[in-house]
Symmetry: C2
Subunit: 217 residues, 2 copies
Amino acid sequence: MNNDQNSIPSPSIRRFPSYLQVIKKLEEENRETVSATDIAEALSLNPVQVRKDIGYTGITGTPKIGYEIQELINVLMQALGWQNARHALLVGTGALGSALLGYRGFDEYGLHIIAAFDVNPELIGSTIHGKPVFGLEELPNWVKRSRVKIGVLTVPAEAAQSACDAMVDAGILGIWNFSPVKLNVPDHVVVQKEDLSSGLALLSVRLSKRLADGEIE
Amino acid sequence: MNNDQNSIPSPSIRRFPSYLQVIKKLEEENRETVSATDIAEALSLNPVQVRKDIGYTGITGTPKIGYEIQELINVLMQALGWQNARHALLVGTGALGSALLGYRGFDEYGLHIIAAFDVNPELIGSTIHGKPVFGLEELPNWVKRSRVKIGVLTVPAEAAQSACDAMVDAGILGIWNFSPVKLNVPDHVVVQKEDLSSGLALLSVRLSKRLADGEIE
DNA sequence: TTATGTGAACTAATTCACAGCG
DNA sequence: CGCTGTGAATTAGTTCACATAA
């Protein structure tokens, strides 16, 4: 088993949430163990890959049986830094922003978006999916009080860098960037860029190829 | 230059939309050429990688100058199968679904979601961000009439497979799946799964590592 | 026999190094 | 020189093949 916490490959980390999802469902059904094969089957992956991924966490399973579900959940959460629920804020309450505010999927994985910020005076003071919307100027104080470290950025391209700067100034350390802009941040800030169109690109290409290769139109 | 249309690596395809985005902005500023270096800089990528990616499309640039912007836009769109705008439908008008209906980013890349379907009687007959919402039972006729091939799936996990089946039966050939479920589809249907939590996972891990490595808390 | 765990082989992707051109 | 274009080297990720344990 590999125990080097610092070097889990990114593709493995990206798969962890889906593993969690599968085994949490089994947990609800009161199953006590899972095999890598079970997980692989549920997700159409190669079982060896699943085993290797799980190996990175340092957990060890028992042959013929698999892994103890509770333990596996714990080490995966641990590996993801999700042991304790994390709080986040969101800047930009447009279509995508309000969707993310209402997306319960994140809570399941320990991310709780607890407040939103925007410049639109019509929204300030209201709530979206139960979360309060503040004016951007309140960001610094709010971050100081709440000690939140993660910010979700869902503003239009033009506003992205300045909203990012505001977050950084306020003390945010991790930015999940949904805007199509490369953000300039100081070294101590981590940015994760999310690009919806890249998935759409792959779908388009694969579909075009199928059509070209003579599927019924 | 590589001209084999059928074998552009997936990572390259995933980067194409961001290239398009950069050069379309330059086009608006009436620039006529871009170098791979320009694009790489705008996106914090390695210039060689950009050049290789562009090479896959078959286009050829001129040393010292770069690529002709119009031509580059054309070949990228071509490579992505986005020459002619594509129409799509969406099933599931929850938080995420309505966000995608209102997300103008897709139009830019040739995906026009022109109708939505749901089972909620309160929504049927209404419009969301200007797009009409129909009952799921209307799907077959609507697809037949509109000849739409792409479906965006944004229903909760429990409903995913049955909504997927409905799409497939109606004649949808490409499914962009935002639900956390592995879909069972016949061979001729292409499924692209989108998993928001995988990006969040990476952000968490990178942030935790930073904090552990002694950033100011 | 059915699982884990892992070194080894393989495949894919990125990056390097450099030739060639304007 | 600053750029393209590309073979070669490198690195990263996946898959195979097999040893081992219950």
